[in-house]
Symmetry: C2
Subunit: 258 residues, 2 copies
Amino acid sequence: MQGKGKVVLIGAGPGAQDLITVRGARLMAQADVVLHDALVTPEMLELCPQAIKVGVGKRCGKLSTAQAFINKQLVDYAKKYPLVVRLKGGDPMLFGRADEELRALEAADIEVEIVPGITTALAAAAASQQPLTKRGVARSVAFFTSSTAPEHVEPRPVVPDADTLVQYMGGREAIATAQRLLDEGRAPATPVVVVENCSRSDERISRIDLATLAHGLEAAHGPVLVMIGEALAQRAGHRDKQIGLPADDTVHLPHKRA
Amino acid sequence: MQGKGKVVLIGAGPGAQDLITVRGARLMAQADVVLHDALVTPEMLELCPQAIKVGVGKRCGKLSTAQAFINKQLVDYAKKYPLVVRLKGGDPMLFGRADEELRALEAADIEVEIVPGITTALAAAAASQQPLTKRGVARSVAFFTSSTAPEHVEPRPVVPDADTLVQYMGGREAIATAQRLLDEGRAPATPVVVVENCSRSDERISRIDLATLAHGLEAAHGPVLVMIGEALAQRAGHRDKQIGLPADDTVHLPHKRA
């Protein structure tokens, strides 16, 4: 072993403690060290009471840990401890900068394993009971995010083209998405489902349409996922459950008109 | 309760028993009845030794259970048993015809819960250690499938437009995808990762390029997932692990030239 441990990148899922995989939960219970994002909920960390927990969150507008330093920490801990977990919100291979961490670990010749996680789009589809594909209506779905990094290269369109679109961290950025889709000819009445704090005690599901989305969303208090497409039309027999909100709050739409 | 039970749609994940969520595994252990697809592996059914197990698989070219009959069975079992699980390979809200089952259950006024699952694309990304998004290279990913249903409506392009593309059940159909992408101007050298039997004992990972994919894939012996895009370029320091294959088998590329 040459004094080297193993690093496991684990997807924590959307936030609820029991939406991690069985494999992920078992490895959490065995970990010597767990390095976790700011978006990982406190209840996820209850799965590793034995571990040294290291917060390495990068959150917009808050004190952040530079990626290079996270990479270095991963390597340093793996040289000291047998099992190091890198816990990421959602799935580690989607919007998680895993490439940079994998390169650093490979350069240091450290063994890596990856355990997938429930990405928020799928948890939001489950919470809203709204399939992302639908026979005869939608058989493709695209997940995307906006970049605010100035150095970002744009090899493809900002908004991908697929039957169903899911924008991660889509609070403010969803306005531009909606405007672009309307310009491209999507119907103003195209259904939109917004899920805030998916799977958590303060989860909120809102149903609007594309025209309304173009006017913006109310200030969100947590991670916001915006799902757009004909597949998201609410079924006549379906009612959304709202968690953690009084019933009379559910009539407020999450948008403000300009 | 008026003699009515609850139906839980659960995503089994890609096949490995411990890639179901903790919530899914717990509900499986409590289920009275489990209706499962043909793609669900036998080891997943070991999670519900107490349950009545009903196979309702629809598999290309094999004897299938019509969707209407599956819907009826779900309703009928829910009228007789408190907890009925509908176990689907991958995630229930992606390519799972959940819409039809949800409508049937809602029409019968039966309570439904949905537990998301690891969709195969994310398991394949984890198995190949290949992130689907990458800073400066790819920040959108589309999942899609080909339809062979003659009545299928095509509201959007057959191949969606996103930085990274993942085609489900993409064995034979991936040839057309590759040809189309080449026609649209994607580079012949665009990396392609093919994962067969993801997360199972006979998992096979192959790396080719878009030009090679256009010539076709070798006959696959199980579910095939085809991932395409610049984000899938293999890192210099990475080697794929091949499960269940002798080492000398890994040099055979999974394509045959025309």
